[in-house]
């Protein structure tokens, strides 16, 4: 017997005495007994009966209203509230800066988005966007001002984050380049090259704006971030040049323009060292010394000169070397020898790195010597009085 027939037969059992249908006589007598048992003492239902069955209809529709209208409306309201709260939190978090309460929400969202982004190329693009966001945050911190210790801490952590991220981007670029199917690598390299230039400029602006307000450590972190960004940018440019030399979809003019941009960038770095050298070593020291007693400072000036002269001469020499090296890079670019031009550019970057550290030493040393000179001068003035 098939299931359908069987279920029909089961339904047909209803009404058969053998299938448990009670005798009518018993049904009636049992009802009578039951009604007698429940009716004499029962009086609670009286008040309800005064209103007839209308009250039950009212209750019934009340229940329906609760179940079908009130509950869905309540659920919908809760959902809307959660959505609005989420949207508000997210938009506030997106505008937050390092050190703000909702900043962790922003970075967590970024991490989640990155985790759900598939394909190395898409991940690199997203990571590069995140680096650009970090630079915007640094500008925000500059504009915000406030406590210099907190500001330095937030600047340092953001700069370190940029360094970490660009190193990851460089690793990804290497992986994409060495992968068997690396069709999209040229586009990625172009994107990294353009964006790292912008990031480098942004970081340089931030450094300039914060140079006199935050600690040397924070500035060092910005310097490191600039170096790491240039590093990944140069790596991307190398990929572009290799693709050009392999005859891929890029013109010589475009490559030349990109190399020229990098050269211009390094030239600006070298120029900024020359300006700094004049201002900090010459101008600042003399200004401080002039503030002391002129008659008694000659010996102190000598001591400053002894400490700094050797380093200053190194800076000057290296600065000249850097200038010569970048000029060579420009010549090679003129000859359309992009491979050698970028190699020379990298050498120049190395010299600029050395210049950076030497410049830091000069600033630190001369600062200490100036402090010492001013103290000594003050003591001598007091003695003379």
């Amino acid at each position: 017997m098939k299931s359908r027939e069987l279920t029909q037969k089961l339904k047909d059992l209803r009404g058969l005495e053998a299938a448990g249908t009670p005798q009518e006589g018993w049904v009636l007598s049992s009802r009578e007994v039951l009604m007698n048992q429940i009716s004499p003492k029962a009086d609670v239902g009286e008040s309800s009966r005064e209103f007839g069955s209308a009250i039950y209809y009212f209750q019934h529709f009340g229940q329906i209203f609760n179940q079908r209208i009130l509950k869905p409306v309540a659920v919908a309201l809760v959902v809307v509230f959660l959505l609005v709260s989420y949207t508000a939190t997210v938009s506030v978090a997106d505008a937050s800066l390092p050190g703000d309460m909702l900043y962790s929400v922003k970075t967590t969202r970024e991490r989640v988005k990155l985790a759900f982004t598939f394909g190395e190329e898409n991940k690199v693009k997203l990571q590069m966007d995140h680096v650009s966001r970090r630079v915007d945050e640094l500008h925000g911190l500059v504009a915000q001002g406030g406590d210099s210790v907190d500001q330095a801490e937030n600047v340092a952590s953001t700069a370190q984050k940029i360094s970490d991220d660009v190193k990851l981007i460089k690793d990804s670029l290497n992986r994409i380049t060495t992968a068997a199917s690396n069709g999209g690598v040229l586009e990625i390299a172009k994107d990294i090259d353009s964006k790292t230039l912008a990031v480098g400029h942004g970081l340089a602006e931030v450094k300039e704006a914060l140079a006199l307000t935050v600690s040397f450590e924070a500035i060092d972190d910005i310097d490191e971030a600039i170096g790491d960004t240039e590093d990944v940018g140069t790596a991307a440019l190398v990929v572009i040049i290799n693709k050009f030399e392999a005859g891929k979809d890029i013109t010589g003019d475009e490559v030349a323009a990109r190399v020229a941009e990098r050269i211009k960038d390094v030239e600006a770095d070298i120029q900024s060292f020359n300006d700094e050298e004049e201002m900090s070593i010459g101008g600042e020291m003399l200004m401080n010394i002039e503030e002391g007693a002129e008659s008694t400072v000659s010996s102190t000036v000598e001591s400053i000169d002894v400490v700094t002269t050797s380093i200053v001469s190194m800076v000057v020499n290296d600065s000249d070397d850097a200038q010569a090296s970048i000029e060579e890079a420009r010549d090679l670019l003129g000859q359309k020898d992009f491979g050698l031009a970028i190699e020379k550019l990298m050498q120049t970057n190395d010299i600029v790195d050395i210049l950076e550290s030497e410049s830091g030493i000069v600033k630190g040393e001369s600062g200490e010597v100036i402090d010492s000179a001013v103290t000594t001068t003050d003591e001598l003035v007091e003695e003379e009085e």
């Binding site: 069987l6 089961l10 058969l16 448990g20 009802r31 007994v33 429940i38 239902g45 309800s48 039950y56």
Partner: protein, 184 residues
């Protein structure tokens, strides 16, 4: 739809301790509850006593003001519990009196009723049903004779909806097997 509305109003009236409504509730449920009990106890007299007790007990619960969410499922649950109590006390009585004839008498009375069924298929289905495990018999009656939903059955037997679906499937397969065996 009209029936559903009518039942819903009736349940509210019953919960409101309306005796007249309770009479109508009795009319609506007495045959189903009797059948449910009868299949479990296999005795007309016991089924009658237990069914009467079910309706009295429900009224007592209502009078005590207990919160009854689903009166339909609640009615079957009361019937089920009373049958369990019945078997417990019967087991004790049988042990003390060593009376083993009752079940034999019950089977004989039911066999007589079965013989009066002219449709051999129906007779086969009923015999197959009688030889099923109690839990299979229970879900088949609730589902196909009383037409309760899986959700309501789950509430009555204290299982999940999924477990009831599985139970129903196995019960139908077991019933088919019983019918086939009887035919052979």
């Amino acid at each position: 739809m009209r029936n559903a509305l009518g039942n819903s109003i009736l349940f509210l009236q019953v919960k409101g301790q309306d005796q007249e409504a309770y009479g109508r509730f009795y009319d609506l449920y007495v045959k189903r509850i009797y059948r449910f009990v009868y299949f479990k106890v296999n005795s007309t007299t016991d089924a009658q006593d237990l069914t009467s007790e079910v309706f009295l007990k429900i009224w007592q619960y209502i009078k005590e003001g207990k919160d009854i969410k689903n009166l339909n499922a609640f009615t079957y649950m009361i019937a089920r519990n009373l049958v369990i109590d019945f078997y417990r006390s019967k087991s004790r009585e049988d042990q003390s009196l060593e009376n083993t004839n009752t079940l034999d008498q019950v089977d004989q009375s039911k066999d007589l009723l079965k013989e009066q069924i002219k449709d051999s298929d129906l007779r086969g289905v009923l015999s197959g049903l009688d030889h099923l495990k109690d839990e299979y018999k229970e879900v088949i009656i609730l589902k196909y004779l009383d037409e309760l939903s899986t959700k309501e059955i789950a509430e009555i037997v204290g299982k999940t909806n999924g477990a009831v679906r599985v139970l129903l499937h196995r019960a139908i397969e077991a019933l088919k097997k019983n019918i086939k065996t009887d035919e052979e």
